[in-house]
């Protein structure tokens, strides 16, 4: 049974999705990720989907779920590198992923997470209560 590796990077967890997501893989990822966040007390989760070319409503919902679960465990999720076709598909499916922060690439995503983790107490209003 293959699974998607989760890398620890300081306070953050890194996930790159490089294969086609099927349902079981997505469920396993959810379980692994929540376990890892709890174990390392991570503050941020970065998911890179630049190699993902096909999405459906299930994957969209899974991404929203991961963000919601992470938030309950006090970790901010950032989604990076979404392809134009994937973005259009998600919008057409009516999934605008409101709780998830997004960035163009991993570098920017990491900046965003660092900003969130280290500046949170001073700039509460910038990220809001949803962040």
């Amino acid at each position: 049974m293959d699974r998607i590796p989760i890398l620890k990077f300081g306070d953050c967890l890194l996930i790159t999705i490089q294969v086609d997501m099927h349902d079981q893989l997505a469920l396993t990822l959810q379980e692994d990720l929540t376990a890892q966040i709890a174990k390392h007390a991570s503050r941020g989760v970065l998911i890179d989907i630049s190699s993902l070319e096909i999405v459906d409503s299930f994957i969209g919902r899974m991404l929203a779920n991961i963000a919601a679960m992470s938030r309950i465990l006090d970790a901010q999720t950032v989604l990076t590198g979404m392809q134009p076709a994937v973005a259009i598909t998600l919008v057409e499916l009516g999934m605008s992923l409101p709780g998830i922060k997004t960035a163009l690439n991993v570098e920017r995503g990491m900046d965003l997470l660092q900003e969130f983790i280290y500046r949170e107490p001073e700039s509460e209003d910038l990220h809001g209560s949803e962040g």
Binding site: M82, P84, I88, L104
Partner: protein, 292 residues
């Protein structure tokens, strides 16, 4: 089976003369086509028509294939020369009168046959005229759809304003097909130029209804999913009123009245500022003018 084609064949030259006379009387477009060309076209059509009539009386049949082809060619060349659709149809319809008079002369003794032959030939010519109009309209429609495609490509340029800032000036009415093109070109430009901010300027969009707003919100949401911020600018006061009256929610969208305001905001978000390096002659008091 009608026999009028025999009459037509026997009186071919007389009918041709009558037809040309009729055409010059009815259409009167000597400025667009000269007499020699017209005569050539007329005799060619008359030949094809008589041949086809000998084999069949059904315009859709195989026998009329070459006649149909010739008429399509005529319609095409007439449109290019600047004839109107009705003038093009008159090419065929004006043939009725000389043919009818030839048939009348031939069947003088038999009124019932005269009527049936006139009916048969008139019916055929009407159908051929319809075919001519159809092909003229098809040609026009092809032109229109080609122009629509060209307009789609012309009217959606994505402009790079600064490192990391894109602008999309929209001109003209937005419909679903155009929004799709706009969305795709904006999103791929965001990836190509690695831009964090995109400004959609709707100064050139004449009206904003719920559908247009829906399209805009979709585009902005898709850009946000990719990690780019989208601002909406160029909202005229009248459009702002319309948006509120229609009850369109633009709460999650950063809006600005002018493109310059949105650009200033984008520079500010990127931590950049425009400074005046030389004191302006008109306003010497303003030594250092920060825009952002």
């Amino acid at each position: 089976m009608s026999v009028f084609h025999q009459v037509v064949k026997a009186n071919e030259s007389a009918i041709l003369v009558g037809w040309l006379k009729q055409m010059s009387a009815s259409t009167r477009r000597g400025d667009l086509i000269n007499d020699v060309d017209l005569k050539e076209q007329a005799s060619e059509f008359l030949k094809l028509f008589t041949e086809a009539c000998q084999k069949s009386s059904d315009v859709q049949s195989e026998a009329f294939a070459s006649t149909q082809e010739f008429l399509a060619e005529i319609a095409k060349s007439r449109l290019e020369q600047g004839f109107s659709t009705s003038e093009t149809a008159m090419f065929v319809l004006s043939l009725k009168q000389p043919i009818f008079s030839a048939i009348r002369d031939a069947f003088k003794a038999n009124p019932s046959e005269l009527v049936s032959e006139i009916w048969a030939s008139g019916d055929l010519l009407d159908q051929l005229a319809m075919l001519t109009i159809d092909s003229a309209i098809t040609i026009r429609e092809l032109t229109i759809s080609r122009q629509q495609e060209e307009m789609l490509e012309l009217s959606t340029p994505v402009v790079k304003l600064w490192d990391g800032i894109l602008a999309l000036p929209l001109i003209g009415t937005l419909d679903s097909a155009r929004t799709q093109v706009v969305m795709e070109s904006l999103l791929s430009a965001i990836v190509e130029t690695n831009s964090q901010i995109a400004i959609i300027d709707i100064t050139g969009v004449p009206t904003v209804d719920t559908l247009v707003a829906q399209h805009l919100i979709k585009t902005i949401t898709a850009a946000r999913l990719m990690g780019a911020d989208c601002y909406l600018s160029g909202i005229r006061p009248a459009i702002a009123q319309t948006i509120v009256h229609l009850g369109i929610e633009l709460i999650d969208v950063q809006t600005k009245a002018k493109l310059s305001d949105a650009f200033a905001l984008a520079l500010q978000r990127l931590g950049k500022a425009v400074v005046t390096t030389k004191p302006s002659a008109t306003s010497p008091a303003q030594g250092r003018n920060r825009v952002a």
